[in-house]
């Protein structure tokens, strides 16, 4: 039975390859040389005019009953690696019935999911043989974007079994809440395809890709990452650059502080004062960013105030109305440490007390009240 199935798969693969070579634009085949437009579902920014060239690697993904699927690296015109890709054919089996799923995945240089291309001739199908609609592909893309998806740490059996409600001494029961989350996350009627795709993207290959990148890492790749909009790239680059590069690119780092996610911001806010100690003037754009960032990062920034150059107080004193209750408290606590309050700042405080629509004016009133003898 197994032999028959394998033969069937090989046959399918054979026809599949043939049809691609014959009917498709060559840019969508692993045998292709170049990629000059972004994958259909893609997370990174694609600069117009980008041309990527495929090169072989030693890497592959092992697929049950099918064998090795090649992984290629896509390099730019300077031969710098940009993406990894693999065109995959993998069986998806449900209740003893198996079908081949065709999909071409892309990974970032750090092994994170970067996107996919579907195979127009061989669309993905659902449990009831219906073909995936555009919205289903979109949903699959969203699922693949979630590196911590609830389907990640469960076996397929657990996901389709009825929920057990009692967990005793370590039995890993799956709760009703989990079942609901799985349902929400996957394409309706295509749990098996979604599950297979997710585990393929987030399999062992991730670490191998990252190691391949690390082995080839150079300055220009790090700079590409520092100037990209990808959160993982930004974090990676911030870890890799030394203090002098930090100074040199401080403007870009302040830009990241403004535009990136709260996670990346938190990393910057915890380190920029130390990194720019020798050139405190370079800190200005970081403090100026106060009202451009989320509330959590603002608080983290204010917690660094005691280490900051004196101009930071001045900058922040003009943004009191943007502060939450605790932020204003931190600011005032910092002020209280000072022997005297500069007249300009005292004036700001006095006029702040009279603001009509700010809920925190009472804090300044109390602050002034507590300072009275």
């Amino acid at each position: 039975m197994r032999i028959v199935f394998t033969l069937f798969i090989i046959l399918l693969l054979f026809f599949n390859k043939g049809s691609i070579d014959f009917e498709y634009s060559v840019e969508r085949n692993t045998s292709i040389e170049t990629l000059d437009s972004p994958p259909e579902f893609f997370v990174l920014k694609w600069e117009k005019g980008t041309k990527l060239f495929a090169q072989k690697t030693d890497l592959y993904i092992e697929v049950d009953s099918i064998g090795r699927q090649e992984v290629l690296v896509l390099v730019n015109e300077n031969k710098t690696p940009v993406l990894y890709t693999s065109e995959i054919a993998t069986p998806v089996c449900a209740d003893g019935e198996c079908k081949l799923m065709h999909i071409k995945f892309y990974w970032t240089l750090l092994g994170e999911y970067a996107g996919f291309d579907r195979n127009i001739e061989l669309p993905l199908t659902k449990y009831d043989h219906d073909e995936f609609q555009q919205s289903d592909y979109q949903k699959l893309h969203e699922l693949l974007l979630d590196d911590k998806s609830v389907i990640g740490r469960r076996s397929l059996d657990q996901l389709v079994d009825k929920p057990k409600m009692r967990s005793v001494n370590g039995v890993d029961a799956i709760s009703g809440a989990t079942v609901a989350r799985v349902k929400e996350a996957v394409v309706s009627g295509a749990l098996y395809s979604c599950y297979t795709a997710w585990h393929m993207v987030y399999g062992d290959i991730q670490e191998k890709l990252k190691n391949t990148t690390l082995a080839a890492l150079n300055e220009s790749m790090i700079m590409e990452m520092l100037y990209s909009r990808n959160q993982e790239y930004q974090i990676f680059a911030l870890q890799k650059i030394d203090d002098s590069k930090y100074e040199e690119h401080s403007k870009q780092i302040a830009e990241i502080l403004k535009s990136s996610t709260p996670l990346v911001r938190s990393i910057i806010v915890k380190s920029f004062i130390q990194k720019l100690k020798k050139e405190p003037e370079l800190q200005r754009p970081f403090w100026n960013a106060f009202d451009k960032i989320d509330i959590g990062t603002r608080s983290m920034l204010l917690k660094q105030l005691s280490e900051a150059p004196s101009f930071s107080i001045e900058i922040l004193s003009k943004k009191l109305d943007k502060m939450s209750k605790n932020q204003l408290k931190l600011f005032l606590d910092n002020l209280a440490q000072k022997e005297s309050i500069e007249p300009e700042i005292r004036n700001i405080l006095n006029s702040f007390v009279n603001l009509k629509n700010n809920p925190n004016t009472y804090l300044v009133t109390n602050f002034l009240e507590d300072r009275e003898p």
Binding site: P262, S299, M300
Partner: protein
């Protein structure tokens, strides 16, 4: 006010709760009365909320009507003399902004509704109500809730003088003490073999284990029900294994009902009945500890206050257990503690896959958040839910009809202890707003908001430091210890706010990262303080790193800690030694005792 000349008089208003405090200033004949809202004769539909006493100064009354105004709170107030009195109320608008304040209320005096709408000011402080005239030296006073959305009243102050009491917390504290004429020490002192503070799973298990070994135990808990996060008031199911303490933990744990389920009530009765069945446990429900006194690293007593009457008791004992969750006893006694995340280098707790989300390069104040659980149900008729504009900046377009563990809030702007009230309130806005969004969908026309907890269910705050700091690596490597009295197989899971990775996500929804571990052990040395010699800790405030807390923070595990500590306390009593000496000198006997208790028969006296 001439403070040196003050003559005080305290008077009971009735035999239940209410106490009004009189204060005569002889020179000017000004008279002041402070009525604590939580001491009202009949709180009606308002609930006593003592959760934030350490932050805002007092338990208060909360109109938690989940959208329907609650019944009036009523009390009688006696006056020394008739006359005109100025009236203030200590309150706060819990969501100041460009909308009507959500928690508005009024006062009724002698059945007459006073005009002034209250609950409008930002931050806790006094709102002036009116001048009233008192005859017959008595008034009937009522709090009239106008909204059902968590109006709050801490106290009502009557004075013949027109001087407003102080609002700043430092000054208020001194003022309150003066006006209540409280002596420093509580009026009553009680002595025990062991004082356990906090009646969550850890505190309950500690009390039971110690009581079974013959100790006379005081269990102090600030709620009417035992169980903490597992109680019917918060409704988180207990997770983890039983380890060495199955017999004890089965008396107090829960079924695996969905979080927030009304089934929590069934386990509540089991737990309360079981703990109360021990004759040598004196249970002090509705008592909140507010101070612990330590001299040279030894705690002599813990002071607690009845959350409604304000009656105070001093608890003396040779040893104490801190199961408060927030590590209050240790904090007051000067125990070493930590808060927030250690850097990845501190203990080498790296998980590369999740990098900064798991352990940061630089330490910070981030901790796992607090949850407020809630639920709704379908009924026969269409159900109206009021508009909640003040909730929308938090809920945005998120629409749900129930919450689970992912409804969790933590933000660098908030400390889980200092800002617990704001955190609870943020969750209330998330809940009311998301429910209001869901109600716009006709599918939910018959859905009625059934229950929203008013208690904040915390995951992480202060962690007291012991002789061993339990880390993620202890779990990951399944490290065995000679004193590994607590064991667990549950994954280490650390939560983070999803908004960290995408600002478009609601800031009140978390995600969990699970690290699969072998069976792991927590050494006894993580269950007593490093520098306070007679202090045990059990519960989430045990000695661990942030990542170390990820696994054993669940309640069967914290229950194991409690039971382990209760048995150690008995051995301490037997040899009159401190917790540390059980490890250094009596470990074998301790481990034997743990084995022995597994099959302990319940003595006749406790049946």
């Amino acid at each position: 006010m001439n403070t040196g000349m003050i003559k005080n008089q305290m008077k009971n208003i009735n035999k239940f709760f209410a106490i009004a405090f009189f204060l005569m200033v002889q020179n000017s004949f000004a008279q002041d009365i402070l009525v604590e809202a939580e001491s009202f004769d009949n709180p009606g539909g308002w609930v006593v909320d003592p959760q934030f006493e350490q932050q805002m100064g007092s338990p208060y009354l909360l109109a938690h009507g989940i959208g329907k105004p609650v019944k009036n709170a009523i009390t009688k107030v006696d006056f020394e003399s008739d006359g005109e009195y100025h009236v203030w109320v200590r309150t706060k608008n819990w969501v100041p902004g460009e909308w009507d304040a959500p928690g508005r209320f009024k006062l009724k005096v002698n059945n007459q509704l006073l005009d002034k709408t209250l609950g409008l000011r930002s931050g806790w402080g006094w709102e002036y109500v009116d001048r009233i005239s008192v005859s017959n030296k008595e008034i009937d006073l009522e709090l009239v809730d106008l909204t059902g959305f968590d109006g709050r009243c801490d106290a009502i102050y009557f004075s013949t003088s027109d001087k407003e009491p102080p609002s700043s917390l430092t000054k208020l504290k001194a003022w309150r003490k003066k006006i209540k004429a409280e002596p420093n020490a509580p009026e009553i002192t009680k002595s025990y073999d062991l004082v356990v503070v906090g009646g969550g799973l850890a505190g309950c298990a500690a009390s039971i284990a110690a009581a079974e070994q013959g100790l006379k135990v005081a269990l102090i808990h600030d709620r009417p029900f035992l169980g903490g996060n597992a109680s019917e008031e918060i409704r988180v199911h207990t997770l983890g294994i039983y380890g060495n303490f199955e017999r004890i933990l089965k008396k107090i744990d829960t079924e695996h009902y969905p979080n927030g389920s009304v089934d929590a009530k069934l386990d509540q009765k089991k737990r309360d009945d079981n703990v109360k069945s021990y004759e040598n446990i004196d249970l002090f429900l509705n008592h909140r500890a507010y101070d612990a006194n330590a001299v040279n690293g030894v705690i002599h007593y813990v002071d607690a206050r009845q959350t409604a009457t304000g009656e105070r008791i001093r608890f003396e004992a040779p040893r104490f257990v801190d199961s408060t969750g927030d590590g209050w006893i240790g904090y007051w006694a000067g125990a070493e503690f930590s808060y927030g995340r250690e850097s990845v280098e501190t203990y080498g707790e790296e998980w590369e896959e999740h990098g900064e989300l798991w352990t940061p390069q630089q330490p910070d104040d981030a901790v796992m958040g607090s949850s407020v659980l809630w639920g709704s149900k379908e009924v026969e008729n269409d159900q109206y839910f009021p508009k909640v504009p003040w909730a929308m900046p938090v809920a945005k377009d998120y629409a749900r009809v129930a919450g689970e563990w992912q409804w969790e809030f933590s933000n660098p702007d908030y400390n889980q202890i200092d800002d617990a009230e704001e955190i609870r309130d943020h969750m209330l806005r998330a809940i009311y707003g998301s429910f209001s969004n869901a109600k716009k969908d006709t599918v939910n026309a018959k859905i009625k908001l059934e229950w929203v907890s008013s208690l904040v269910g915390k995951r992480e705050s202060r962690r007291l430091v012991g002789d061993h700091i339990f880390t993620f690596n202890d779990a990951k490597e399944g490290r065995e210890f000679p004193d590994g009295v607590v064991m667990e197989t549950r994954d280490v899971d650390i939560h983070y706010q999803t908004v960290l990775e995408d600002e478009k996500n609601p800031d009140f929804i978390s995600e969990a990262l699970f690290y699969k571990t072998p069976q792991y052990y927590i050494p006894y040395r993580s269950l007593y303080s490093k520098n306070i010699s007679n202090l045990f800790m059990a519960g989430r405030n045990f000695s661990c790193s942030h990542a170390g807390l990820g696994g054993p923070r669940v309640m069967r595990t914290t229950g194991q800690m409690g039971a382990a500590v209760g048995i150690a306390a008995a051995l301490c009593a037997k040899y009159d030694v401190n917790p540390r000496e059980i490890y250094t000198g009596y470990l074998e006997e301790y481990l034997a005792l743990i084995e022995e208790q597994k099959f302990q028969k319940i003595p006749e006296t406790k049946k």
